[in-house]
Subunit: 315 residues, 3 copies
């Protein structure tokens, strides 16, 4: 795991190790006794991902450099590559990047002298969101084998859908897609079902946000009808299996993908997902720092609490 | 004091306790020996309020999450409510909110799982600004009883005026209002006086910034005449009582509400107000954390300096 | 050195002392054991300067206040002067300012109660960039005497050119200027040479960014021809002296001032410059804090590592 760029690079064991370390972090505090700087380079808006990265970084004791494109030399035309190399030059030990290009990391990850974490790449991948979704499912069911997971909504423009479908498939889950006409992704080889089939048969109903900002033109799905035809209404929630749960990466378009009253209902794990995001990001950061040798076990041993070292070593 | 939302909820004793703890903080350093996160959600521009909150939070040892609406999911339409619940979910222990709606807190404070501090609500309330104004007056006069306080300027659009008039009245001061035509607030039951009467008779002349950004249309008070007719000129300053002081929440429109030469004159407490802002905000934060049980006296005892614990306990 | 505003105020000895302390900081960690706040007031975009100031400040253990003009009271018309005095009032111990006015510091530095560092003044001065450029040259050649330094590009609009030419001249280097028609600065008394002469004869080729944002109208130098006629092409790099180096303050307009392949070539010190920026800024900050008596040697002694105190005392 040189960088954390794509779920495609992760083995089942690597994924499970991230989830396991994340749970370890929830239970035990752990500070890195070493001065480390991390820069968060977000070229697209973010609340959850960026803020939970910052919480994760501060919990680990890292110094956080908060970069804003609109007040930076990006305004003078500086590229992501030159920006990233600048942060390396001033002593940054790790980069977290979100960028609208689907493949922003290609040039960069070959030349980076520090580990890079993908916090969102266009409509292609969002691997840390995937890890927190996986953790939320794992907490519920203890396994991924033969779970039925429906990914519902704007599949075409959703990096969350892409990362999750690939990872869930690798972990042995059965992935189904459900979307309004025009939101399908033809290049994506999973079976499509209706929303009514999805809610009736699946263990996990993972809703997606409609990515208005990625649409080339106005969608042909009028907002007022969307919920009724393609979203999770209160009627559909009632036919879900007893143990089935609702996920959504948020921000939620209330009343469009999901009835507003369901956002905080008993099946909803939407805020649990956010909470899990802090711990999976801590796990990913720590794994990369260790694997790159930026920190070693001595730093960990100095501040270990409750068996953390053992767990890290056995990853 | 479940949240710190409105001066209307505060008893005289609670107000005085905030002022007393603020003075304690000025004299003694005090760190909370516990990892706590606070998020500052400012939906309107701020220099003084936001930065003095950050200084207060860092002096207390809190981790600060700096949220920017323009680079957050607010851009994707996320509401204040969902944003606040997101910060709760990722582990934030306290929220500080400024928002243009007069009543943004109504939905939120019922459902919040963490304490919320109002850092400005539309044109309705600005209770932490009020506390720092009160502290500045208290430092000068040692009491509020029978003090004559003139609040001068854009009463109608000023949340500072609303919070201060209510609190000063409760504390026994005599509040007078003075404003240009169109800037009166008809719903507000305090006597109006001319600026000339105000400067001659009052102990405190509290000027307000003209809230250009809240005006529906161009004011009928042309800028060039405003100072002469309604503002604090050098001539008017000369007729103030010997001990009388000038307050202004800032930013000052120099040459409009007040002659530019008076901003740093000997009667002015404008920069003293800002300094007091740090300490009243520390006091409010600490009181809420204690009252919610987020921190307890053990955390305080571990890092007490010079009798702080005793004072906190006797609030 | 009351403030760090202009290279004109610096003696040769003061410059060399900054470089020496910077090297000391690179080798030894040094934290100030005292709660100090610094505010970075950037009224123009910045990546390198701002972020390396923040890294420098955090490495020294300072609390950093990150000010954004677009979400501050600058939006309500507040001036730099009033903004700076506000930060003083809330307890800031040092200000770092970048502003588009050539002489923003004139009113401020007379009245400032805390040390101010100039992080860029219009097209006039950029003294901390100058210090890091000098350190990079000094690391290479061990002296400035009789070095030939060509400053190449948009001289007229470049604060980097102005600060560097003055300082290099004072230190005994021979400064040459080279620029496209319209980019000369008539008020600046150094000889002009062609880019071909510059690369053949100079020890240091210091390229400048074309300051598109400061041009009143479109330059008559079309972008497509600029590199060939006035920039550093691969052909020109080949005729540079064996030991000669390339500097550029960045961000680089790749393919305009310099062939993109040369940015990371063996002669390039562009990323080394950025790295040096962290340490010269630490040195400047520490010198000012000591000279103002904001910190004293006791604070330093408490956390000294490897002879730092001695060096500071002998400045």
């Amino acid at each position: 795991m040189r960088h954390f760029i794509s779920v495609k690079q992760l083995t089942e064991q690597e994924i499970l190790s991230v989830l396991e370390i994340a749970e370890e972090y929830r239970e035990n505090k752990f500070h890195i006794k070493q001065e480390l700087f991390v820069a968060n380079l977000f070229y697209e808006p973010s609340t959850r991902t960026k803020m939970s990265f910052i919480v994760a970084q501060r919990k680990l004791g890292m110094e956080v450099l908060d970069f804003h494109t609109e007040t930076s030399s990006v305004q003078k035309g500086e590229s992501l590559y030159d920006t990233a190399k600048t942060f390396e030059a001033i002593g940054t030990n790790m980069l977290v990047v979100r960028h609208p290009d689907d493949t922003w990391f290609e040039e960069l990850h070959q030349n980076a002298a520090v580990p890079i974490i993908n916090a969102g790449a266009g409509k292609e991948e969002h691997p840390t969101q995937c890890m927190l979704d996986l953790l939320t499912i794992y907490q519920e069911f203890g396994t991924f084998k033969n779970l039925k997971v429906a990914i519902v909504g704007d599949i075409k423009h959703s990096r969350v859908a892409h990362s999750n479908a690939i990872a869930l498939d690798r972990l042995g889950a059965n992935v189904y897609l459900s979307s309004a006409p025009g939101f399908e992704d033809e290049d994506f080889d999973f079976p499509y079902v209706t929303i009514d089939d999805a809610v009736e048969t699946c263990d996990v109903v993972m809703l997606l946000r409609i990515q208005h900002e990625r649409h080339q033109q106005d969608s042909n799905s009028a907002k007022e009808d969307y919920l009724e035809h393609y979203g999770l209404t209160k009627e559909r929630e009632k036919v879900m299996k007893d143990h089935a749960i609702i996920l959504h990466p948020a921000p939620v378009n209330r009343g469009i993908e999901i009835d507003t009253d369901l956002v905080e209902c008993s099946r909803s794990r939407i805020f649990k997902q956010m909470n899990n995001g802090v711990y999976v990001r801590m796990a990913i950061i720590a794994k990369l720092l260790l694997e790159w040798g930026i920190i070693d076990e001595n730093v960990i041993e100095e501040c270990q609490e409750a068996g953390f070292t053992k767990r890290i070593n056995s990853m």
